[in-house]
Symmetry: C2
């Protein structure tokens, strides 16, 4: 029989008892931030559950990890603690368990309506790495910028290419994004263009949250890498294509990305995603031994992007993709990242790169959807080559189970004009 | 008359009263880290000076910034507080001031012999950015990899190119560096090389420490940028050339760099460097208005790299360069970094990129010095194309004043074999 909670979750809810994603929230604007899990239309305040002594397992009993304003300490504890917390919380929230259900006082303190809370970044992000793991995205970008012959550079099929991103400008869903100013490629002998970006784009990504990580000089084996991935969020890697195109040779993306990156507030754990695991695409050529894994899996996560055009009330779907289209798995990304001895710390963020599917209506950014502005997308009587001031971009992601969802909620941001 | 301290500093010392660089140290291996300044052969413990109530200026009087295990809080306070601290400490340490000089008890607590202390990273580094600001380095690398026609890409003269580096693997001088493993470019139809890097290199850089920084969306004007730079350290941006060459297209350096970056422990402030300011090179083409500064200055800092080959007792100079060779100034780097709205935080690190001079004996890395291994350097009967296991690399940097130095000490690291 399906697990059920005494807290009603609508069949369309992203947050039934099967999910229990982690976030950090403030019940009131002035109150200190504390960890919580989403359950139906509520947030369960884990600091209250900890203070009530209800984490009784051996690893969490004496820990203050849920009395912190960020999840880093919990992330550092690793999968045994994550599994213990999940088991405790699923039991506590189940319809047959009386401890919380029948304690009106504790329920009042510990269950906060989700529409009342302010979500904040759930962890201190020491380093943010962005991968380039979708073959369809790599192929489309290569074709747009270098033509259809050999659009994908030869290294791509041998290693999960990535670059270091900017951690300081990662913001929580709902934060406005200010259109960046910068330089664009000069035409002829003119000086470079300078001004607000004229090619502002979203990138549909997901991102993994790392814990516990490794010491400098000690790589993580690909078959043990899953123990260092707590869970996933949606991520919008906003990109200024004109700034990026002019600056990126030879050292890669910089100001074309670092003005803002938006993450969704709820971290869906790998344990909650496990029922939605599917085989990863076959890799040809075979990866080198340090990237060859016994089980190579993706997750079947439906992804969708809507744009709410400036001045309009409704939003419109511009693309539908899926996490399963990634060529390089999360575990391969992590093993590759550490093979040179690089150390990962709890709370580090791994972006997947834009997740594009094989078909035109599954491309993960406007660069691909409009083919660099050549074919504008239609939105209820208006069109877009790239984003305009006032546009809001809304990502959603969800796994469809048998009678329930394991969802990510949304990841949103609105474009404000340059100053 | 020259400022003099009651603490003797040998004329060759890097740390006379004119310098007073900041670091964080542990007096004993088990004691908590605390901020200090170097003075002659001693470290002045700023936590003891603060506890003794000797910071009497308006900004520092009631601050606990020197009771922290890192300098970030002090960095966040900005130039007025930095100037106040410098004035207080120069007075306290001057030969004519009795407060500390004649208080034997306080001297015993606050002045620790430098050879007894352990230096640690002086700040939490939120983000580390590495620039590419030496024209000679850009030209040499371009010539080696793409040939002598147009070795420098056209964007280089319009903007200070940079990439995001890895913050987690920044280590303090003296930390051993483990030779990274990774992939190298395949030859013919073979799979890529995999194993210990065969082209391990140093890169002679300096790095700026940022404070107070800016809010997301609010660029810093180039003419106010110096107020956001606390000081400089030496930096060795260790590089695995074979890993880097294979991975870096199209997203830039990643595992070829992220296995370790070494910084020197003493942050020399811009105030201490001011007597050594010199005009920056003329820039042609003229930079765009947001990069055009009223005063465009570098510093005359002599830099030297020695290698102590594995198994030998002495080290040998392999290159001499100077900070003044940088084409893009620190202030232009900072203004560029924020023009898109990217936020900087106190403690962020800006590497300059390899500082090469115009002549062959002033090139800043083995890639350039040996022309990618074609012309090995000679070291007392042995030769090096790239670094071998057991080699120690020692950077030093110093400004020569009239009868005194303002120096950086050394930045060292020894190569250990791959596991």
């Amino acid at each position: 029989m399906a697990l059920k909670s005494f807290i009603e979750a609508h069949p369309d809810s992203h947050f039934p008892i099967q999910n229990l994603p982690y976030g950090v929230f403030k019940p009131e604007p002035q109150s200190p931030a504390r960890p919580g899990v989403a359950i139906g239309d509520y947030v369960l305040d884990l600091s209250e559950i900890a203070k009530a002594g209800l984490f009784t397992g051996p690893l969490l009993k004496d820990s203050d990890c849920f009395l912190q304003p960020v999840l880093n300490k919990f992330l550092a504890m690793g999968r045994p603690a994550w599994k213990e917390a999940r088991a405790t919380l699923q039991k506590l929230l189940s319809s047959s368990e009386l401890t919380l259900r029948d304690n009106a006082n504790l329920r009042l303190k510990a269950l906060v309506p989700m529409n009342k809370v302010e979500m904040v970044l759930p962890m201190v992000i020491g380093d943010y790495t962005d991968f380039f793991a979708s073959m369809h995205h790599a192929k489309n970008c290569g074709t747009i910028f270098r033509g259809p012959q050999n659009p994908i550079s030869p290294n791509w099929f041998h290693l999960p290419i990535a670059y270091h991103g900017r951690a300081s400008s990662i913001v929580i869903s709902g934060t406005d994004i200010i259109r960046p100013r910068g330089q664009g490629r000069p035409s002829g002998d003119s000086p470079p263009y300078f001004g607000p970006s004229q090619k502002l784009d979203f990138e549909l990504e997901m991102a993994a949250i790392v814990g516990p990580g490794n010491e400098l000089g000690k790589p993580i084996n690909v078959n043990e890498a899953a123990d260092h991935i707590f869970g996933l969020v949606l991520m919008n890697d906003w990109s200024a294509r004109d700034i990026q195109a002019w600056e990126y040779v030879p050292l890669g993306p910089f100001l074309g990305k670092s003005f803002g990156t938006t993450v969704s507030p709820w971290i869906v754990t790998l344990d909650a995603l496990e029922p939605f695991a599917i085989d990863a695409p076959e890799q040809n050529p075979k990866p080198l031994p340090y990237l060859a894994e016994k089980i190579s899996q993706n997750y079947d996560i439906s992804l969708e992007v809507q744009i709410k055009p400036a001045g309009q009330k409704d939003s419109y779907v511009v693309t539908r993709s899926n996490f399963k289209y990634l060529y390089w798995t999360l575990t391969q990304q992590l093993a590759h990242h550490t093979i040179n001895g690089c150390n990962l710390r709890p709370g580090d963020l791994f972006g997947t790169g834009t997740i594009s599917g094989p078909e035109q209506d599954s491309f993960g950014c406007l660069l691909e959807l409009t083919w660099n502005g050549q074919n504008p997308v239609s939105l209820n009587g208006t069109t877009r080559k790239f984003l305009e001031d006032g546009d809001e971009v809304i990502f959603a992601g969800c796994c469809k189970g048998d009678g329930y969802n394991v969802g990510f909620g949304t990841c949103t941001g609105k474009i404000l004009p340059s100053p």
